[in-house]
């Protein structure tokens, strides 16, 4: 899907971000210092850069100056207001502070990609195809009728594929914070999706947690 450059000198965190982005199908490349990042940006074009600020060699602010307007998310331990403001004023599309949650990072990546129009407008898995631009779902080439909530649930599952989402999180993401129904609503909609798309074995129930859409990477 999108090709993403991860610039982060802490190996553990670099690896963590990379793994999570790869789960939902992005292509990732890791570099560990500012100079390597600038070289990489000049050699290849990326859809998104995830950039730490405190880096060996050039720091994040110096790297973003060379980034040729590639969409950038700052990922930093610096969470003071002046740092954030500096980050945004230098052209960052988002600013995320450590410690962060995986789902939040993915949601922000998704949001930036959608905004910068580089996200794929289609998703295909097996005999199911989803056209995000026209909000249409096809099964074996046949259009499948979905209610708006079913479609939104499907989109959330696809955007966080290979990651288990709790029922509470799904409620929050699809129905919103102030929805008053219970988690059974989620189960009902999941059942309907499974049936309509014949996805009984793709949408896995994760014991004591929730659901996960599993798609081969």
């Amino acid at each position: 899907m999108a090709s993403i450059l991860i610039v982060e000198d802490e190996v553990a965190i670099n690896e963590l971000v990379k793994r999570n982005l790869q789960l939902v199908g992005h292509q990732c490349n890791s570099v560990f210092d500012g100079n390597a990042a600038v070289q990489e940006i000049q050699c290849r074009s990326y859809d998104l850069i995830i950039l730490d600020i405190m880096l060996p060699g050039l720091d994040g602010f110096e790297v973003i100056e060379q980034a040729n307007k590639t969409p950038t998310i700052f990922l930093s331990a610096k969470n003071s207001m002046p740092d954030r403001i500096k980050g945004f004023s230098m052209g960052a599309d988002d600013y995320l502070t450590k410690p962060f949650e995986m789902l939040e990072l993915l949601a922000r990546v998704e949001a930036v990609l959608r905004r910068t129009q580089r996200t794929a407008s289609c998703f295909e898995a097996g005999n199911v195809k989803i056209d995000f631009s026209s909000h249409q779902v096809f099964h074996n080439g046949q259009s499948v009728e979905c209610t708006p909530k079913e479609y939104e649930l499907l989109e959330v599952l696809v955007n966080n594929r290979n990651i288990a989402l709790s029922r509470e999180r799904l409620l929050e993401l699809v129905w919103g914070y102030d929805f008053e129904g219970d988690t059974r609503t989620v189960d009902v909609h999941i059942q309907k999706l499974r049936k309509k798309l014949e996805w009984e074995d793709r949408i896995k129930t994760v014991y004591k947690l929730g659901y996960r859409l599993e798609v081969s990477r």
Partner: protein
């Protein structure tokens, strides 16, 4: 203050100046009047004595004097050519002759005192001032009274003009004085105004503002002390700011030091919970979690040790330097196996006083840094010796060295030479803080000297024993 000084000075001046003018005027007035009186008395006497001679002469001729008095007095009326003098002659209070201004004479007739003295008065009639002298002729002509009237208006007027002139001049002078005073006061108070302005500026945060200094008076001296005060304030402020910056730096670094492992630990745990993992993925995620936890543990341990050292007294005992070196060598043995670095221990002193564990941990820390600074073929010399009567232990390496800026900060907690705080060649940045704390609790000094590319020397100088 300025206004008050101005008003007081001006008021005092006006008071004394006008009082002076007043006194002068009064004195001049008295003088004028006295002169007129003297002159009038003189004339009166002259006329009276001349008249008596005339009367006696007339009487010796056997003529009655009453009829010829007018002709006798006539010549005296012309005594003064400017019509300033008037004469009147009375017999038993009956006017028998008057040279002019009869009405005036009559209304101003005064009964002279009976004892024969003369009476002098000053009368003001129709804007004219007269000196009137009335006196009886000596006996046997005591029934006759001669009144001499002298018009002294001119003298009085000239006095009045002079007096007015004096007061006008006084007014003009006062105005001039007020202006001059204002000018002088402004000049005197200008430094005070400057001081006020400068203090305001300093209070508003412009600590670098100073007074300009010129001259050699008390104000200059005050300006000097003021500037000194400003300098001290600025210095204190800088110190406070530095301390605050250091604290902020510490907090920032501390936060970073905690956040990074926490992010990794939480992230990998979440990853393990929510993603489908292969056995390899699972193991590597667990590895990360464990190593990051260990890192947190190290930071926590070192911080605790630092806090303990600051609070607790250490126990001093006699330590054999050779034993200390041996213990350090054994601990470092494992670390050195992979690296091509040589360590030499030299000892020219037998013992030092201190805590064995702390000393060992400090030497290991210093040697750790030295080993990290060295590339292949590094050479480290640990030397215990006496220098200028004091026992010292130095650790010298021939590694990459440091710039003076880095050198100045290396003992700050969490300080790292590399601004990205990368861990690849360092711990949390607490090692040298610990060393510094250990030396200071041993009443010793820890100093560093270094040149980029030529290596670093760390030296502990014991001030006691």
């Amino acid at each position: 203050m300025k206004q008050r000084t101005f008003l007081t000075t001006l008021a005092l001046f006006l008071l004394f100046f006008n009082l002076g003018i007043f006194i002068v005027s009064v004195a001049m007035f008295k003088d004028t009047v006295k002169r007129a009186e003297d002159r009038s008395l003189g004339e009166h006497y002259f006329i009276a004595s001349a008249l008596i001679k005339d009367i006696k002469a007339v009487e010796s001729r056997g003529t009655k004097i009453d009829g010829s008095l007018s002709s006798l007095l006539q010549p005296y009326s012309y005594l003064s050519g400017d019509n300033k003098v008037g004469l009147a002659f009375y017999k038993n209070n009956q006017l028998i002759y008057s040279s002019k201004d009869t009405d005036v004479q009559r209304s101003n007739f005064l009964i002279p005192p009976s004892n024969g003295n003369r009476l002098v008065t000053i009368r003001k009639v129709d804007k004219k001032t007269y000196v009137i002298v009335s006196g009886k002729l000596p006996s046997p002509y005591a029934s006759y009274t001669l009144v001499y009237q002298y018009d002294t208006t001119e003298a009085i007027n000239s006095w009045s003009d002079l007096k007015n002139l004096l007061f006008i001049a006084g007014f003009v002078l006062s105005v001039l004085l007020a202006l001059g005073l204002l000018l002088v006061l402004n000049r005197i108070f200008r430094p005070l105004k400057q001081i006020t302005q400068t203090s305001k500026d300093i209070a508003n945060g412009a600590y670098e503002t100073r007074l300009s200094i010129s001259g050699h008076d008390e104000l200059t001296e005050m300006s000097h002390s003021f500037n000194y005060m400003a300098e001290e304030i600025q210095r204190h402020m800088t110190e406070l700011k530095d301390a605050a910056d250091k604290k902020q730096q510490f907090v920032d670094n501390f936060a970073h030091e905690l956040r990074t492992p926490l992010t990794a630990i939480y992230g990998y745990a979440e990853y393990m919970q929510k993603a489908v993992l292969s056995e390899d993925d699972r193991l590597s995620a667990l590895n990360y979690i464990m190593s990051e936890s260990r890192r947190l543990q190290t930071v926590a341990y070192q911080l605790l040790e630092l806090a303990n050292l600051q609070n607790n007294q250490i126990t001093f005992e006699e330590l054999k330097v050779s034993g200390l070196f041996e213990a350090v060598r054994q601990t470092l043995y494992g670390k050195l196996s992979g690296k091509d670095v040589q360590i030499e221990f030299h000892s020219q002193i037998e013992t030092i006083r201190g805590d064995f564990c702390l000393m060992e941990s400090m030497l290991i820390n210093l040697l750790d840094n030295a080993i990290r600074a060295c590339s292949k073929g590094g050479h480290i010399i640990v030397n215990a010796a006496k220098e200028a009567g004091r026992k010292t232990i130095s650790v010298r390496d021939n590694g990459k060295g440091m710039t003076p800026e880095v050198l100045a900060q290396i003992t700050e907690p969490f300080y790292r030479g590399e601004k990205s705080r990368n861990r690849s060649d360092g711990g949390a940045g607490l090692g040298l803080s610990l060393c510094k704390q250990i030396t200071s609790s041993h009443n010793a000094e820890l100093s560093f000297s270094s040149r980029p590319g030529e290596g670093t020397t760390a030296k502990i100088t014991f001030t006691t024993q």
